[in-house]
Symmetry: C2
DNA sequence: ATCAAAAATATAAACGTTTACATTTGCCAA
DNA sequence: TTGGCAAATGTAAACGTTTATATTTTTGAT
């Protein structure tokens, strides 16, 4: 499998140069303890035989794994829907941020929150990685607790509330909802629906709290019937539109927390005979710029997912290098892309 | 970081049981050389201290990495579009197939074909993994060549032509296009457009060849203006519809190779004032069941991506175990889901 | 030239596992 | 009892690296 000759090791270079393993090892790592001339000799020899360090030796000796574990939420049922599609770009962004380092991204598929905690425990206990990245944070998050107790490097995609400061990246959900609501108020809307993720998720909570806050300052009563919590698939978006449209006083605007549920909401419009822009409007948050291709295109808060992804990668490298997490907290505000005017049309109702 | 006491090793168990490292090692691996009673003692001790094997030791000693490298195509430009979104599910499916084994999925982000080849070379040379999985195969594929020369285990998502047999998983593109074309013929269509991936890709070639074949047997002349090759983003689908609709004799049906381009095609319909079902129809291939939520829902060939994904994982495990690749070649035929009747409406044209 | 101190290099052990080989144990037939 | 053999266990080396410590070399002041 390797064409005959074994892979060169430090000993190969020792034999070539007459130096000791210690010196060669140090030279290869640019240690100031070795003379520049010596280092040059070592580097030349290394180049000649095509030496590259065997990570397994390093890992065993140092205990470092040079792996960053990414907990990847995977579909819970056989029914595959358009969920978590932005994960691919997230992973590639993180991987790119790792280029040029020894670190590799290792995937840990998890089905739910409990499995995620078990996996985190296993990673800590068996030191399967040097750092962990995960998303879907909760205000009081068991994974954060475990990692902080173990003093284990990690970065979350999403915020928490009940914990000591830790590194995170998130989109500015408060800013998004605030801006979206104000814009809809300005255009005459008073019945605004919120299509939200599961209640336990931080970003859902943030969105809801901001939503309630904005209603209050506009003097509008909070109506729980206009808020839906669930897994943000197209199916969910569609279903919620159909439910809410059947209300006595249906919403005239929908704020969807992702592009998938927004697509489903549009599908629900079609199913109910609603016309977007006439009967009601939909606003979305979009990581993939896909809502530009919906019919009709939607007004959206667009944050290319590569941006948070790269930040997650850069942050975890810094956390692993020992940088204090307080400085590694980033909120990103998406761009508002207005693709429809979204003004409230006065509709005659019985 | 580890709460004081060091992680238990084989030596820990030796100390507890009075056995030698060799015996303990063998006992832990269920070797028949050790008496069942002895093994029981070892297992009990292991359980007690919560022993788990340190992979780094194994890796160094055996040379195995217990990593499966996945070459992940990542966006080439800053413009993030809805491309490669099914990758997330692909990764999670593969990871799930690995559960219960020592193997982990490690991600190698690559920007293009050349980088993929370099990465493959590096993986082989430095033995960064025990197996490789990649997609986007070409009829004569440099990566396949490299891996076969090195006798390195791999599975492709997609077929090749110019190589010795190797393990692969793919959807039955010939079957898809054949069925789709026949169905459209049956419904009166004669001007059928093909929205295809890049020409160099195997599955694009297969689709085109089948397309031409079907045209021929139906006695219809091949018109290159009805075939588009490109990166299958929504933007591409939209653009191609707009171009083809401007033809003297525009298509009455579009066959899109994925859900993203189909969404874009629908968007193109809206932009041109075309009505789906009246002026023309769109058929798609869909890994994510998302075209059910388009407006209108599209007729589609649906293969939940988890199926090929799990197969890729199972196949690579078998290839690494030494099973001959001839038996590890799977073509999957998606289900045809008819969401519109797609009959040709006679349209008055000037 | 001598010597101490500093700089550079060498020695050897260690990380945790597997495995070739050696040794011991248990068993059975003679 | 002895010898022989198979089964079970033990010994020790090896995988490739890093690093504490020891040794050698160089430097510079005297």
């Amino acid at each position: 499998m390797n064409g005959g000759q074994a892979r060169p090791t430090i000993k190969t270079i020792c034999a070539m140069t007459g130096l000791s393993t210690a010196t060669v090892s140090k030279a290869l790592r640019q240690s100031p303890e070795v003379r520049p001339e010596t280092r040059a000799i070592v580097e030349e020899a290394a180049r000649k035989v095509g030496y590259s360090t065997n990570l397994h030796g390093v890992q065993l000796r140092t205990g470092k794994t040079y792996q960053v574990a990414i907990l990847m939420t995977t579909p819970t049922s056989d029914l595959v829907e358009w969920e978590g599609v932005e994960y691919a770009q997230l992973l590639s962004g993180i991987s790119h941020a790792m280029e040029g380092t020894r670190y590799r991204v290792a995937l840990y598929p998890i089905r739910d929150y409990n499995e995620a905690q078990d996996t985190v425990r296993r990673i800590i206990r068996n030191r399967l990685a040097d750092g962990v990245i995960f998303s879907g944070t909760r205000p009081d998050d068991g994974r954060v607790r475990l990692l902080q107790e173990a003093d284990f490097p990690f970065v979350t995609y999403g915020t928490t509330e009940a914990h000591a400061p830790h590194a995170f990246v998130d989109s500015d959900n408060e800013g998004i909802v605030r801006t979206a609501m104000q814009r809809l108020f300005d255009r005459g809307h008073r019945r605004i629906a919120l299509i939200n993720p599961g209640e336990h998720l931080s970003y859902g909570r943030t969105r809801l709290a901001t939503y309630q806050d904005m209603l209050k300052s506009a003097g509008i009563d909070y109506d729980p019937a206009l808020v839906a919590h669930g897994i943000l698939t197209p199916g969910f978006g569609r279903e919620q539109v159909m439910i809410m449209h059947a209300l006595k006083d249906p919403p005239t605007a929908y704020i969807c927390a992702n592009e998938a549920s927004a697509l489903g909401a549009l599908s629900g419009f079609a199913a109910c005979g609603l016309v977007h822009g006439r009967d009601a409007v939909i606003n979305a948050t979009d990581d993939l710029n896909v809502s530009a291709y919906f019919t009709p295109p939607l007004t959206t808060f667009y944050l290319p997912i590569t941006r948070p992804a790269e930040l997650l990668g850069r942050h975890i490298l810094k956390v692993m290098a020992g940088e204090p997490p307080e400085r590694l907290q980033t909120l990103l505000m998406p761009d508002l892309i207005e693709r429809s005017d979204d003004r409230l049309r006065t509709i005659e109702r019985p």
